[in-house]
């Protein structure tokens, strides 16, 4: 064999050996360059995932800095039927860890196609227990959930959250402020069975949720809720409300309803005829305009007064001649009507509007009502007469307490405040809600006179059950008939009982309104709402350590006055 032949054979072998390598190289070139983009996209879909997450919502605090609502991570547990290895044993184990009846879980398992929801909102400890089981086919999905550390405290104010969005109450009203940021996470996993994360990058929309500090005082709110439940249950009322306000600043310290409604904001949505509590407005207007004076006397027609051929006004108790203060102390509808008629429609209407009736408070809740106030052009004599004692006009509880706070603070109607400030998570104030006066309604002199009369109501009038020995309380009872919304006529035997007052009367710090809708055991404001007011006032006095007035400590009541009005 010649050298040339050997070389040729070697070259041929090399060529044959190189052929597969060249083929592989060409294939690699094709995949890495020509098919590069397509394959990269396919690989990304398999190993990369973009996950959208909603971050935690902002917190809600009360006026003292106590936490009322916060977001926390919880887990939803679910099963993937196709991945369970030993369904019978796995279900048994899971039901014991999650405290679920085994029968119920098995029934749900049988009904489900592949994905079977097991239990929602597991806390961290329970989720860790489930993870520790290391059961194939059991999924735990983490998500932000809202929790309320104080349970039912102020829940009617806070409202509801669903899918990370506020649905009702403050959660809805301030949803844009509270909403957590939305972030996208790109995750790269390895090819193992568990798909361990190798790398992830996160981008978000740059927003940070803010915290809301309410004007609500959690202790006063608790007192209001507790007392309200007691008196609502005792009197078997359909609905009860208690509002507490700082009259100097308009800040709402408590807003309690019973039964609690997490969907409606009843103190701003619900309307009722305020009844005799409205006499304070008539009294204030008459004194301010000079159409009545404290020295005036009024004849109360012995309990029945024919206004015209069709309308007769009645008092709950027949009265003879009363002073102006006596008219309010005894809550005479007849004399209140006479005061109103003397005041005149224009003056009456002016002061009703000045006290904030017929206008929304501006808190911003979507269902807020401005109340019902007939246009002045439609006001007839009978409307003026009955309106003077709080019939024929409808108000929201928040309007009534605002009006009484105006009397309490010397005659200024204040803007209602429910939010104190908005701050970042580290406490830096972004927005502070300062107190603001809307207008002066009555002069200081008139206000002093009205306060004296309202003090008399509690000392010796229909509001005697609201008195707290040693403390000067001023207020007015109210009992109005309920209206059938269908026919527009008054319902027999169904009342709305209320009491609105403030204390200490000379330098008021708290205005309280208690309303009981359709109480069935006792019926009048002086019997039902006034004692509830007294109990809330006592608790606040004790908590705040308010000093009693020595001169009032040994005060005795005069001859008993019927508490009907």
């Amino acid at each position: 064999m010649t050298a040339k032949t050997v070389r040729t054979r070697i070259q041929a072998c090399l060529f044959l050996a190189a052929l597969p390598a060249v083929a592989i190289a060409l294939r690699l070139f094709y995949l890495q360059t020509i098919r590069h983009e397509n394959l990269l996209e396919t690989a990304s879909k398999e190993f990369n995932r973009t996950v959208r997450e909603v971050g935690p919502r902002g917190r809600i605090f009360d006026a003292t800095g106590s936490l009322l609502a916060e977001s926390i991570v919880t887990w939803d547990c679910a099963l993937l039927k196709k991945e369970l290895r030993d369904p019978a044993r796995d279900l048994e184990t899971l039901s014991s860890v999650l405290n679920l009846p085994g029968k119920e879980l098995r029934a749900r398992y049988r009904k489900g196609k592949n994905f079977v929801p097991v239990k929602k909102n597991l806390d961290q400890a329970t989720a860790e227990k489930v993870k520790a089981l290391k059961l194939a086919g059991v999924r735990l999905d983490a998500h932000q959930n809202r929790y309320y550390p104080s349970g039912n405290l102020a829940r009617n104010i806070l409202g509801l959250v669903g899918n990370g969005r506020g649905l009702t109450g403050v959660e809805l009203l301030y949803d844009k402020v509270l909403s957590g940021n939305v972030s996208s996470r790109e995750i790269i996993r390895d090819g193992s069975k568990d798909g361990k994360i190798i790398f992830q990058s996160k981008t978000d929309d740059g927003r940070t949720p803010l915290d809301i500090h309410l004007t609500i005082d959690k202790n006063i709110q608790f007192f209001a809720q507790e007392v309200l439940k007691k008196y609502a249950d005792k009197n078997r009322s359909d609905l009860a409300m208690a509002l507490v306000q700082d009259p100097d600043t308009g800040r709402i310290l408590a807003l309690a309803t019973y039964p609690e409604d997490l969907i409606k904001m009843e103190p701003v949505e619900w309307v009722y005829e305020p009844g005799s509590t409205f006499k304070t407005v008539t009294l204030s207007a008459a004194l301010e305009k000079g159409t009545a004076a404290l020295t005036d006397s009024f004849f109360c027609e012995k309990g029945a007064w024919a206004l015209n051929s069709k309308v007769t006004i009645h008092d709950h108790e027949p009265e003879g001649t009363l002073s102006l203060s006596g008219v309010i102390e005894r809550s005479s509808n007849i004399c209140a009507a006479k005061i109103g008629l003397k005041l005149g429609v224009e003056n009456f209407y002016f002061y009703v509007k000045s006290f904030g009736f017929g206008t929304k408070t501006g808190l911003g809740f979507y269902g807020e009502s401005s109340g019902i106030l007939r246009p002045i052009k439609k006001y007839r004599t009978v409307d003026l007469a009955v309106g003077s004692y709080g019939h024929g006009v409808a108000a929201t509880p928040i309007q009534v307490i605002n009006a009484y706070s105006a009397v309490a603070n010397g005659g200024r109607l204040m803007e209602t405040r429910l939010v104190d400030k908005i701050a970042t998570a580290d406490g830096k104030t972004v927005f502070a809600n300062e107190p603001s006066a809307i207008r002066r309604v009555i002069s200081k002199a008139t206000d002093d006179a009205v306060k004296e009369v309202l003090k008399n109501v509690v000392e010796k009038g229909t509001g005697i059950n609201a008195a707290v020995p040693g403390y000067s309380i001023a207020g007015k009872t109210g009992t109005s008939k309920k209206i059938d919304p269908g026919t527009g006529k008054y319902l027999t035997g169904k009342n709305v009982a209320s009491f609105c007052g403030f204390f200490p009367a000379d330098k008021p710090q708290y205005t309280i309104l208690v309303i009981l809708d359709n109480p069935k055991v006792l019926h009048y404001g002086g019997e039902t709402a006034a004692p509830a007011f007294q109990e809330i006032a006592k608790k606040i006095i004790t908590m705040r350590g308010l000093k009693p007035e020595k001169s009032l400590l040994e005060r005795r009541a005069e001859a008993p006055v019927p508490v009907t009005d």
Binding site: I72, F199, Y471, K539, G545
Partner: protein, 103 residues
Amino acid sequence: MTKPRSLKYAALLSAGTIFFIFAWGNVQATRLGYNIEELRKEIANLETGNNYLKKEIQTFMSPERLQAEAVKIGLVYPEPDSIVLLEEKATDKPAKGWLARLF
């Protein structure tokens, strides 16, 4: 002939080293990626655990719970007239005793 062959070996070795360093770097990056993710998970778990502990504290301090615990041990909410308020008296005279002077 030796010199060109040694150059070829050197070039092959250099290329091999470079590829090795590149591959080693990628492996390290993946390993560090796992470590970072484990640490991230641990941080998230600890933060969540911290939030749950804070939640427990807040729950214990709710007025409803405090009242329930107080009632269990026989406490009642006092009436206004059962509280004695001690008034602070402002004084210009300095405290006399050595113990008072300490404070």
